[in-house]
């Protein structure tokens, strides 16, 4: 084969292999555990036709996890990260997508307040509803907090099952870091984890980035995660 096929698509359309339900930390019985269950069941007969997911972090991870699950079910679907696609013409981008079994739209906040996008999304919603397709749409805020000009769109976003990702407590953040580290064969002790948590940004995204940096450094230098090593690598 003369042309290598893209392993990682530049628009970010390909899914992150790490983004699965199993490595999304949620305490048993917690609200986050409930929402993971709701997302897992959306494509089943009893699932909701329309789910709106919002939260400060973890949204893209969960959406991509849902896409992996959809892929296993063999349904036709499309993942649309709007942060990458917001500059495109919405009519061209969304044309025909209401024929899919399931559509997964990430980053609604990047296109709201744009009349063309709002109208196109409104039409897409109606098309999916009429044709029996399902929609998972996500943003960083609830539908009523987004500056949506088209009231028809806003009311439809409130129609389905609205789920919000709850921010993790420090204990849960530590557990989430340890779960992710464990998945990579990396041992992150409580003390080292606390050390990171007390110094690093407390959003999960940047925290996982710290873990990535540590993982790479640990591999390169063949060292375990200790406080001096973390201090050296992350510059605390």
């Amino acid at each position: 084969m003369s042309t290598p096929l893209p392993q990682q698509m530049s628009l970010g359309i390909s899914l992150d292999d790490d983004a699965t339900f199993s490595n999304f930390y949620c305490a048993p019985g917690s609200q986050n555990a409930q929402l993971v269950q709701a997302l897992q069941t959306q494509l089943l007969p009893e699932g909701e036709s329309f789910v709106y997911l919002w939260g400060a972090s973890g949204v893209s991870h969960l959406l991509q996890a849902a896409c992996h699950a959809a892929d296993k079910l063999g349904v036709s679907f499309q993942y649309l990260p709007l942060d990458e696609l917001a500059t495109m013409s919405p009519d061209s981008l969304l044309e025909g997508l209401d024929e899919l079994d399931w559509l997964c739209i990430d980053g609604l906040q990047f296109v709201v307040a744009n009349p063309d996008w709002e109208m196109a999304l409104f039409a897409l919603f109606n098309g999916l509803r009429d044709k029996g397709g399902r929609l998972l749409i996500a943003a960083n805020a609830s539908p009523n907090e987004l500056p949506i000009a088209l009231a028809d769109l806003q009311s439809r976003l409130n129609w389905g099952l609205t789920l919000s990702i709850q921010a993790l407590s420090d204990e849960e953040k530590l557990a989430a870091l340890q779960l992710r580290a464990n998945g990579r064969g990396l041992e992150l002790g409580d003390e080292v984890g606390q050390y990171i948590l007390h110094r690093a940004p407390r959003d999960m995204g940047p925290l996982f980035q710290c873990l990535n940096t540590l993982d790479n450094a640990s591999l390169a230098e063949q060292r375990r995660l200790t406080i001096p090593f973390v201090k050296q690598v992350l510059g605390f």
Binding site: Q37, L97, R156, W159, S164, R199
Partner: protein
Amino acid sequence: MFGGLVPESIWNKCVSSLQDELPTQQFNTWIRPLKVDNENATGQLRLLAPNRFILDWVSDKFLHRIEELVSQFASELNDGTDTNIGPGLEVVIDIAARQAVRFQRRSPAAQVSPRVDSTSTQLDAQENGFVNRAAPRNNTNVRNTREPGPAPVRPQGNRDVDVEGSLKHRSFLNEGFTFPSFVEGKSNQLGLAAARQVAENPGGAYNPLFIYGGVGLGKTHLMHAVGNALVDRNPNAKVVYLHSERFVADMVKALQLNAINDFKRFYRSVDALLIDDIQFFAGKERSQEEFFHTFNALLEGGQQIILTCDRYPKEINGLEERLKSRFGWGLTVAVEPPELETRVAILMKKAEQAKIDLPHEAAFFIAQRIRSNVRELEGALKRVIASAHFTARNIDVDLVREALKDLLALQDKQVSIDNIQRVVAEYYKIKMSDLLSKRRSRSVARPRQVAMSLAKELTNHSLPEIGETFGGRDHTTVLHACRKIKQLREEDADIREDVNNLLRSLTT
């Protein structure tokens, strides 16, 4: 000559190869939606992508590889007699949607054996079979790959409508939207009575029926209820529901395809035309022109028209006066936001439909707080039901409060460190400058510790960032403050009350 089956078989081989080469998700996203065009020109393998996005992506990322594979398989198939099959075979990708809308008279055979295809486009091409779909919902290949077990629900109740001399059209009637499932209240009783009248006597005095009101108040439900009632009484009734935006899109496609006469014939031959949200016709002059004539033809023919809108006809800016005038010829009724009792009744009905036991006080609690529209009310109930389901608890007011806590903005309100500092300073009656100073007297240090603790609890700032905003203190000082306040909240009732008061005022 280059027969129709040859490109199909070449493409099938390409698909098999690409399936092996590509990750499953990439294959499903980009390759699976491509279909071979049955109208391949000589020497061409013409593929159809469902939209411009997929077309551009495939052209950019995969076309070269597809061309290589096509060339390879075409050479293998060529026995030397067909000069059109070989390395020179050209691969062309186009958008299926351009092909999808064709206005052709149905052949007698098609009328005898109509295709029931839930994936068909609004105006489906009967004879050529082009359908606008990325990956069809009824695609047997897709379904066969699935493990036995739950499968996604397919649309229910979309009956196809045969329209004389034209096309098969899906009615898009939602079977769930009926008169029995509509909850009557003061806010909507006039609209409901009018809709019932129209269902009893279509094409009569109430033509058109114009229902207007804010978003999510049940206008669409009433419209579908009439349509369903008409179909119940006469299963052969040609009732078509569509959103105004779809009417515009279909008309634009018809114009592009030089098929506007078929478009006209189609819409003028239905028994009842239900168009939702006609305010979106505003400013679209060509669509208004076409709809004006359709409207007149239907009215003259005694066919029923039902329209919904978010406002009174005269108030629609950008709509021709003659249309505004005609919209008022029949009956114009308003649907108002439901009052509390109706909201409770709607919730009880929805719960009953979902076979959920919803206590009256829980319904009352939701209805008191969600006042805007029915959609939001339904959304809230879905959330409550999901929460009850996941926690295996019965629904009561506590569960409702818990399930809707962020929706009701009872907590989780984002606050800034600056806001916390102001509120704490005000609460303890100290100056902001003292709170941020180096002073260590108890009267200042304790409020500072409380503020630091609240900053950690209510914001996502890092400890070094919090320390910085309190006069450049170290993160260890913040950590100490948090631990101290945590301890005092357990031991000291005054501090506990202070913190609770501050939390309440910052988060509600």
